[in-house]
Subunit: 338 residues, 4 copies
């Protein structure tokens, strides 16, 4: 068994662990590295429930895991990162809401969505122009035309805009319009795309892959950051499990886990996570209560007529009620709704 | 129930299926589309094991259209059920907190835990006397002696008590002491145990199985209820997924899903779900915000010395801070902390 | 990083690992325990792909995992165990086929199944008398009457019989009739049941739990063995995953994994794993090719009329063709079909 | 498509749904049961995003009845497809083995691997030149230089060559060298890449995504095929589950499932599926026995020195023994080893 001490652990804390181990009739082998102190334990381990050691002061963990991500790692930057999105601060104490339709369908649909988002208090407008769809026969998006509508909506409402990019070409086009480049779940390990977004300075919303571990997700962030763009916002959007009563399973624990391992901000997409709009308010409030830095929610002026993801879209009245609840709850968990 | 025929199925094949269905006293509704023919079955489905139809020539697949659980189903009882636990109401607008150690280890440890729970505002004391452990060489619990300490703690503090039962014998013993019989995740489909608990009138806390679907879980509740005991409290405690940064993955969506499909109350166990105590407060507040009716939390006077689950247990000071946050947030989501 | 040497590793092998590590500019801390030698590595780990060390001679593995099972562990008994089932040897070079209906429905149905099994070359008859069903409203089995039919079928055909037990009471009854007590997936962690079966000397067929890890499964075997009954046959029957094109996902890798970690025999249930009879022959041959010691297959004289699991049952002609293929392939993988 | 109404739905709610469907030029078939009303939809489904119907009042859920993939669908092309890879036939009765190192590291390493593959009877050489790696700090491949070594190895040994492409640029480069373009698991839903490969006529080896369903996988094939390139070879390489004793869980059932739903050939990658070389022979033979059309296996002249995936690579002697077993077994399952 191996006990890894925190970089900040002092001699007294290390000795307390050793004392506890030796008190159980076990011997230790001490290995003092450049960064951390590691304690190896020798003897009959059944004498000691070694997992308990993980809650000793100064102990980081009791299993050897060499994390491969560095720039995204909280161990090397303890302060939470706040990202400036054209003047709107994401992370570091704010709670930012991005709202809008799954896909940009028309100028009117987008502007109606934008005003619904704006009037209820969202800070940003979401809307897909390049749509990754499971079937090649589904609607694939308006592409640049869609982004133009997004930019018009920004001019009219003042909302910042976020839209997904699915190829290097899409990044080139979107870079002319958006405030945030979104990388979708299916492309979380499309390393060429990650690196290309890393070479811009535009903030990147990085969705978690459908079955990505937290470590793989932070490594994907690392790809972007290691190219020089440290403006990464993580987005939990549900993971794939055996359960089918929701489209995906929202991994709410990912919020405290990310806060524990990384300094990057994390927001939640309750719409894609559940796939069912009547579950969206509960999941939104749960995300806020768990410490998320914001939400990205599907809102559509007429969900029944949406070309995609209608079932998971809130209508404007539902969204407005949700925003009221968010404004009430945010102060209790130390968040400021802008 | 619906039978979907293959595009290549001929008239003879469709008629053979219809004949079989009608021979069991059921009626059919035929729907012939451009691509496929669909046969709807009307009548008492228990007359026919419909899955067998999938092996008839020309059948693509069969699909059930109604849920198999009835007493637990919201469709047949729209009002939320409130369960009276020796005077404490679970469900129907309250938020109940059960706290205490994973295992009852000694009289002193239990009483210290009970007072910590009580002083911070918990209504019930949890503590395991019969412990299901993965390895036969792990501590298996104090059994009846542990239940006696639980009863003493109730006398001293006024807390109601909840403890796990792992066999018919354990039910017989526990029935003399506890206010709630707990059925653990490993026994969620131990039907003999479910039925036996169903023959008592003691409220049952039914944990979700490690990889149980919501429908299987409600069917397990149905086993208890169909024996005459409708006092079932569901408990979400995390499901098994590929993610390893938490012990299990708390399925927070299960809360609105259960509220959608059943009238039974649902509480959450953030301690077993995460396995990491520093994630417990965030998950507790998220559960409250998502609409849960309560929590069951591991609290230990000295977690580092716990014989089991030390790493996921809060100490009394941590628990006290969490209860303060719960009391602040509960009114915002329409819950009363007793 | 930690390298754990095999108990049988000699000095030369340990030194080869150390040499390799030091050649990469790293230091080692050697810890020679009673059973094994452990090598801790100090320095910048990026200098060495440490996973490669796992294929050095004498190296057991490169991550600390203290297995909790002992009697089932190959490290402490290298020879494969062959279990004597009333004269039929399971494990140690034979390939045993158990066939029959999911549930015993009537005397005629069972005898027809038994003769179909016998005539095609099966050695054992399966048939459920105590049925664990997801819904309390489904057929629950003929209980003792079913076991009596099983015993009659044994007298007529000479086949050995295997049947599931779901409670202590069922064990008491079944012990009077069966050659093998079967513990189903849902009860794999019903420890009272495991221990009770462990107190008999009757061979136990232990199915893997729906989402049990290999280690949990071997720990369940340990519960039986530690009570004095070492006659445990493991049965892989599919695990729960996100994929829905089969009922469960047959974990074919579990066969070489079990052969690697345990000396116990392992058979496969392709019927429950897939839930679709047209996939059963492919999965049966795959199991044989991967090294399984046998199969348990659902065979029904008229699958379309089965009261449960009709869709996954072979009819007698299909089973007969499969047995022909098995007899051809078995010698190629060193198995003898009895 | 089918719409299932809630038991509580009234006539007005059902009529609103029907009106909406008919307004899109589709017809309905109404089936009114004792418990529920079911609406079948007939006509060109692309006229209506049917999922939106789930938010109409009174609707319980909607269910598709036809698959979204067409060109890959066995229902529209019953004969198995055989793909001509520069004269080597994949699918339609052959069993093709692709072998070689995970990554091309040097000319010597590659040629040694190629001769090991050739001498034991492989038909194709695998080797990664563009490496998608979880961490940006891992070795990323030799790129075009690696492909040049591959082409030299082809000239020397006569083996066909297969190599992974991770970007449009890589496709352009690789198209000059390879016989098969490989799309890795991480890029299975990188639709730009799929479409770009679809515009070449080069055969594509399409690995299943880490948590892709069979239907998503066939839809990914559809993206390639709908661009005009019908030469798609599917590759099962393990899926992500909770089990950790193997790197991924080989979904052996995917072989008969694909044979059931598609006419495309399917091969298996036992090396990535297990991550452990001592499990590779068992999984290779299991794949053959289950009906696979071939294998892609990692073989390295000195696995202990491999820069990636050493632990899962066979050495030449192990590979040679495996090929002997394959040649013996193939005729029993109707496959010809070229």
């Amino acid at each position: 068994m191996i006990v890894i001490m925190k970089p900040t652990a002092g001699k007294a804390e290390t000795e307390a662990v050793i004392e506890h181990i030796e008190a159980h009739g076990l011997k230790v082998h001490l290995s003092e590295g450049e960064m951390v102190t590691i304690i190896g334990v020798v003897g009959d381990k059944s004498k000691l429930d070694f997992q308990n050691l993980s809650i000793f002061e100064g102990v980081d963990r009791t299993m050897p895991v060499t994390e491969s991500f560095k720039l995204a790692n909280k161990k090397f930057k303890a302060e939470p990162t706040a990202i400036d999105v054209s003047g709107v601060k994401v992370g570091g104490g704010t709670f930012v809401v991005m709202a809008g339709p799954c896909a940009v369908e028309s100028k009117k649909q987008l502007l109606d969505s934008a005003w619904a988002a704006k009037n209820s208090g969202a800070q940003m407008l979401r809307g897909g122009a390049y749509k990754p769809r499971t079937s090649p026969y589904s609607f694939q998006g308006l592409e640049e035309e869609g982004l133009q509508y997004m930019a018009e909506a920004r001019t009219e409402t003042g909302l910042k805009i976020v839209s997904e990019v699915t190829s290097l070409h899409a990044v080139e086009v979107a870079a002319k319009y958006v405030d945030i480049l979104q990388i979708g779940a299916r492309n979380m390990q499309n390393y060429e795309l990650l690196k290309y977004c890393g070479r811009t300075k535009i903030p990147v919303l990085l969705k978690r892959g459908l079955s990505a571990t937290v470590e793989e997700w932070l490594n994907a962030a690392e790809y972007i950051m290691s190219e020089g763009n440290e403006n990464v916002i993580l987005c939990e959007r549900g993971i794939r499990t055996y359960e089918t009563s929701t489209r995906n399973t929202l991994d709410i624990s990912a919020i405290p886990v990310i806060k524990d391992k990384s300094h990057l901000p994390i927001i939640v997409d309750p719409s894609h996570a559940s796939g069912v709009r009547r579950y969206v308010p509960a999941l939104s409030l749960a995300s806020l209560a768990a410490g998320a830095d914001g939400l990205i929610i599907e809102v559509h002026p007429e969900p029944a007529k949406a070309v995609s993801d209608g079932p998971q879209s809130l209508n404007p009245a539902q969204f407005s009620r949700l925003m009221d609840s968010i404004r009430q709850m945010a102060p209790l968990v130390g968040k400021e709704v802008l």
